[in-house]
């Protein structure tokens, strides 16, 4: 395994990245994208460093990057949920793929880094696999916080009127909404990415959000059935707390899951492209029957 820190020119700015390559042949690239909390390319508790090295052990070239204005990259830090830095991620990925002579790449996004990952998948034909790490919230993959426009308007109205909001809670409006069991409204990039890439959701939220995501995954599977049989999976990770990927053990499970997913969806040339469910790492979660 070798590591190559680089500066990727982007106009007047430079984006810092580290490429971890295997000792021998390289089968594909994997880009690792953290969220928007100003976390550098190593990610919290060096999660991406450890993931990159595990991927290199399996023959992948792993790319970790600092967003603009973060870590060793220059420029001004700007990361808006609705305008994720897809172009910067694309520039880094294309440069590395060209340099290494690679034609396939997988992308892993954590939290709102998922928006960058999915955006990249829609713009880069070489991207054939996406893993979305969602330890807490489904927000990064949902459109309008997962609510339709009328529902959002209703919630905004209730937010402005505390008395009505309390009454609504007492009447159990949340339970009623959950009982309806409607699938979540994904951001458009999810459906577009699914046309060319396998999708994995590594989920660590509540049972409620897991059930919601499971409905969405089931719907995506139906779409994928007429779409070259792309895989759509949802695996469970038992995150705790709000920061830092706790407990420590879940960090290893997350790394195992990412490596296994990329191993399965980006097989070595010549290897059977058969996909198996994970035996270690995250627990697979099936969609509702």
């Amino acid at each position: 395994m070798n590591e190559h820190p680089i500066f990727v020119p982007r106009g007047r700015e430079s984006l810092a990245a580290v490429v971890t390559t295997p000792e021998g042949a390289c089968r594909a690239g994997v880009l690792l994208l953290q969220g928007s909390a100003g976390t550098p390319r190593s990610h919290r508790n060096r999660l991406w460093v450890r993931t990159a090295r595990s991927l290199a052990d399996r023959g992948f070239a792993a790319i970790r990057m600092d967003y603009r204005g973060v870590g060793d990259s220059t420029g001004t830090y700007e990361f808006e949920m609705d305008r994720p830095p897809v172009a910067d991620a694309l520039a880094v990925t294309e440069l590395v793929l060209d340099a290494l002579g690679l034609h396939r790449v997988g992308v892993v996004g954590n939290c709102v880094g998922t928006r960058v990952a999915l955006g990249l998948a829609t713009r880069l034909p070489a991207c054939v696999s996406v893993a979305s790490v969602l330890p807490m919230s489904l927000g990064p993959v949902l459109s309008g916080r997962g609510r339709s426009r009328p529902t959002r308007a209703a919630f905004d109205f209730l937010r402005r009127h505390p008395t009505l909001r309390q009454a609504s809670h007492r009447l159990g409006s949340g339970r009623v909404a959950r009982g309806l069991g409607a699938p979540p409204r994904f951001i458009p990039e999810v459906g577009v990415a699914l046309r060319s890439a396998h999708l994995l959701f590594l989920h660590g939220g509540t049972d409620h959000s897991r059930a919601k995501l499971a409905r969405g995954v089931e719907q995506l599977r139906q779409e994928a059935a007429g779409n070259g049989h792309r895989r759509v999976e949802m695996w469970r990770l038992d995150f705790e707390g709000r920061t830092g990927f706790r407990p420590i053990e879940v960090q290893a499970s997350l790394i195992d899951s990412v490596v296994r997913w990329m191993d399965e969806t980006l097989p070595s040339p010549g290897a059977p492209g058969v996909v198996t469910m994970p035996e270690a790492g995250a627990a697979p979660v099936q969609g509702p029957s």
Partner: protein, 316 residues
């Protein structure tokens, strides 16, 4: 297909024309293993004085990085050579997080000073750091006979630092999971390898005990260079522990200055700095970082550090 290295190797450095500096990634041996470092140097002329930036402990290494990067670039633009590096167990280093200890921090800072000296011909080298990085910079400066030292809100009492570090993690847990902090011993086991999970960071009991025994004033024995201690606080009142630190540095024969930077965000130093606002993340500590860097640059100017290189550049 085989990995082709030359195209990547050619991207090891970058020129930041707007800043007037060049930055190059280095892969030095620090702590007897490879790590990644960034050397920032001025574009116009050779530096005569260098700085090694010592990062802080645990998650603070990440939280303080924006300040360290901005300071390194500002110092390089003023004519200094500045080396930032990842200690073993941090960032891009080869080492494992479980190897992190207070002793390893100091060892790596000493090695980084040697790495800078072997990379750039310099007349003098100083060390700089914030929070625990400030204390590490001081101990390393003491051991290598550095010419200068800058400490931003340095840790003086290791015990107070590590208790605060653990408490911050437990408070987060309390807020998110309703878990009560342990009253006495927070560790789940009694052996030196017992690990406390502090927001995903594995704190070993042996390291915890190193911190309990650490007192910066007792570690300083021989440093005679110039030093700046930057206190961050909401009021201009000078803290007794930092006054004692400055007095201890002066008693060793060096010139030491205590500068108070008053900032309403001072309590958040070395804590997460980005906050969501209207769908975007904002850096809430940028103003404080600017004030810290201004105080540092002003002190460097007043101390005429690097003046020789600056004069050469002006002549050039």
């Amino acid at each position: 297909m085989a990995v082709q290295l030359p195209p990547l190797e050619s991207l090891r450095s970058a020129v930041h024309q707007d800043l007037g500096i060049r930055e190059v990634f280095l892969l030095p041996d620090i702590g007897a293993r490879k790590t990644v470092a960034v050397l920032s140097t001025p574009l116009d002329g050779a530096a005569t004085h260098g700085w090694v930036v010592c990062h802080s402990f645990g998650a603070e290494q990440v939280f303080l990085q924006p300040l360290e990067v901005a300071a390194a670039r500002s110092l390089a633009a003023r004519g200094f050579a500045v080396l930032r590096f990842h200690g073993q167990g941090y960032g891009d280093s080869e080492g494992d997080t479980a190897e992190i200890s207070l002793d390893a921090h100091v060892r790596d800072a000493v090695d980084a000073t040697a790495a800078l000296a072997s990379t750039v011909p310099l007349e003098a080298i100083g060390l700089i750091g914030g929070s625990l990085g400030g204390a590490v910079a001081a101990v390393a400066a003491d051991r290598v006979g550095a010419s200068s030292l800058v400490m931003w809100e340095p840790v003086v009492s290791g015990s107070r630092f590590i208790q605060r570090f653990i408490r911050a993690g437990l408070v987060t847990e309390l807020a998110s999971r309703g878990v009560r902090p342990a009253d006495d011993d927070p560790f789940p086991g009694s052996g030196p390898d017992a690990v406390l999970d502090v927001q995903g960071f594995p704190l070993r009991r042996a390291v915890y005990e190193q911190f309990l025994a650490f007192d910066l004033l007792h570690e300083l024995k021989a440093f005679r260079g110039r030093s700046l201690v930057v206190q961050l606080s909401a009021t201009p009142r000078r803290r007794p522990d930092l006054q004692r630190l400055v007095a201890a540095l002066a008693s060793l024969g060096g010139a030491s200055t205590l500068e108070v930077v008053v900032d309403p965000q001072a309590g958040l130093f070395a804590q997460p700095r980005y906050r969501s606002h209207a769908g975007r993340k904002e850096d809430t500590q940028r103003g404080m970082s600017d004030r810290i860097i201004s105080a540092t640059l002003a002190w460097c100017g007043g101390s005429e550090l690097g003046a020789h290189g600056g004069e050469e550049r002006r002549r050039a």
